[in-house]
């Protein structure tokens, strides 16, 4: 066998081997891909298709193409006469939800950062106990925890009774069934999502950098904002995203603590599949919500890339 023949044979064998490998890989990936297709892509595809159909008389859809669901989001054919006018109702429902989610994110950040810092600066063997305490509420269902919060802040609840017994107030504070109650509920529910990623960043923080800062005559505030916060930024961003996104779609918290007088995105979408009998519009609203979330994530990814190139 000449050298050249040997080389060709070897190349063929390698190519065959690669093909086999590729086939094996495809087979091994197939179950996972099928599952992803079935539980993630397929439902989403159904939602997209439904959003372009016409509502059936008693729920369901009629197979007739229509873009009405998207038009309806911004315009209404009439509340009473038949002209196409701008309708702010759904936009204002979205804006209020975004406002509440942003507020809750900010609140969780203000409470969560010091908590994470506190845990990260404890001796290593104590940290696990603190982390355990942070995750403890997750062992209970969200509905139950929200209900417990309702018992605490209601007119004849724990807070009001204590304040009244202490003589600080004479009549109960009205907290329950206001936006404040929704804020409290959202912050309480999602706080661990803020603490854990920030803790993960702070845990890796090299505290000799903090000492270096002091050595260079920085005061505490300067050290915080010029050394610690920049180094913890990945955790802060992750925490904010993890609080903002579920806050935006929250359903139970506004329903229970908000008193149901105002619709939030989640409740508005749920209504379309029930009393409103308009599945296409519900689908469209869900997709618009998803588009919003993707925009937030994209903006974040862009900002991260810009930051990376500046630092690198």
């Amino acid at each position: 066998m000449s050298d050249r023949e040997a080389q060709t044979a070897l190349a063929a064998a390698i190519a065959q081997n690669r093909r086999n490998e590729r086939l094996t890989r495809a087979w091994l990936l197939a179950p996972a891909l099928t599952l992803i297709l079935a539980i993630s892509i397929l439902p989403l595809a159904i939602t997209v298709v439904y959003s372009f159909l016409t509502p059936g008389t008693y729920g369901g859809v009629t197979w007739e193409f229509s873009t009405d669901s998207y038009v309806q989001f911004l315009f209404q054919r009439d509340i009473f006469d038949d002209s196409l006018v701008f309708n702010s109702a759904y936009v204002s429902i979205f804006l209020r939800s975004i406002g509440l989610a942003l507020g809750a994110t900010l609140g969780a950040l203000i409470l969560g950062f010091p908590t994470a810092y506190f845990i990260a600066t404890k001796p290593r063997e104590q940290r696990n106990i603190w982390l355990f305490l942070i995750t403890l509420p997750f062992w209970t269902n969200l509905l139950i925890r929200t209900y417990a919060m309702l018992l605490i802040i209601r007119d004849e609840g724990l807070i009001n009774i204590m304040l009244m017994k202490a003589g600080i107030i004479s009549s109960p504070l009205t907290i329950l069934y206001t936006d404040t109650a929704v804020f409290i509920g959202l912050i309480y529910s999602f706080l661990p999502f803020m603490v854990l990623p920030i803790y993960a960043s702070l845990e890796k923080l090299d505290f000799s950098l903090v000492e270096a800062g002091y050595d260079l005559y920085a005061n505490r505030l300067k050290v915080l904002f010029h050394v610690i916060v920049p180094l913890a930024k990945p955790g802060i961003v992750a925490g904010c995203i993890l609080v903002f996104i579920p806050g935006l779609g929250a359903y139970i918290t506004p329903e229970l603590l908000g008193g149901g007088k105002k619709l939030m995105i989640g409740n508005m979408i749920a209504m379309q599949f029930g009393a409103s009998r308009n599945w296409p519009f519900g689908s469209a609203a869900a997709l618009i919500l998803m588009a919003l979330v993707i925009l937030v994530l994209l903006a974040n990814a862009l900002a991260a890339r810009k930051g990376a190139s500046r630092n690198g």
């Binding site: 729920g59 004849e156 069934y177 007088k261 619709l263 009393a275 409103s276 009998r277």
Partner: protein
Amino acid sequence: MKTVLRLLATASAVAFASSAAMAAGELNIYNWGNYTSPEMIKKFEEKFDVKVNLDGYDSNEAMLAKVKAGDTGYDIVVPGDYMVKVMIGEGLLEEVKPNTMENFKNVDPKWVDVWWDPGRNYSVPYQWGTTSFTVDTAVYDGDIDTLALLFDPPEVLQGRINMLNDMNDVINAGLRYLGYGRCNGNQDELREVLALLSKAKPHWRTMDYAVIEKLTSKDVDISQSWNGAAMRARAQRPTLKYAYPKEGFTGWMDNVAVLKGAPNLENAKLFINFMMEPENAGLTSNFARYANGILGSDKFMEPEMLSAPEIVMPAGAPEPDFVTPCPQEVVDLYNKIWTQLKQ
């Protein structure tokens, strides 16, 4: 891996065999939550050696959505009046002819020729009641029989009101207060209704279905309410009084019906007949606290039920108004009003 597979195969075979064995004696009921007497179910299970599975929903619309999606495995549903008519029209109910069954003679004649199922070919009465509101008379001691308490509340009740989180109940009450007809497509009148509701809304503290809990926790002092719920709330807050507003109030009836394609059709028919027996209707009323439309059931009801002001309407109260399903154009208008109101 092989062992795991074999185990799985065995397990599923066992599960299949056991479900096949059970299927002969099962009945799957889909009823409103917290609305089915456990005693009555136990009696049915023992009498016919049937295993009853119970599942719950919280609105006619939620039930319809699930049933329309198909393949629920349920045999029995308990739709409200208008929903019976909708479901018959959509071909979702089995025509089981309760009017030919043995116990049909017990059905109060006034509940036989009803508009949602004339002559009762599909359904039988389960419970019926009214939707009005209930007020704490210790807080407000004036005349309570007017919808003004909800829409133009006196100062002591402002900010202390719960409305049902229900488009139809709220809009219908508004229409009655203004003296306009139900299922109303008249745009000028609806414009007035929207103005009325928007003006009243700042006085409402909550809009929620959890009537009993809102009242007994003293979160509110007045709440739109079903009569049975008002009675259950009064048990814990004795100064509550159920109102029969002079402008009118809603009447409704929930009905037992069999789904088309019910897997246990024969058991479902047994259950329909069973529910027309006075004792079983009485058990249901004792639990859910509503009247039932079966003659002779009062003998089996708690004495307190027979004289309760929530059930026995005072002389001079208006007749309950059974609201028919509205055409889609009107539902669309109602939706817009509702969304405007809650934006």
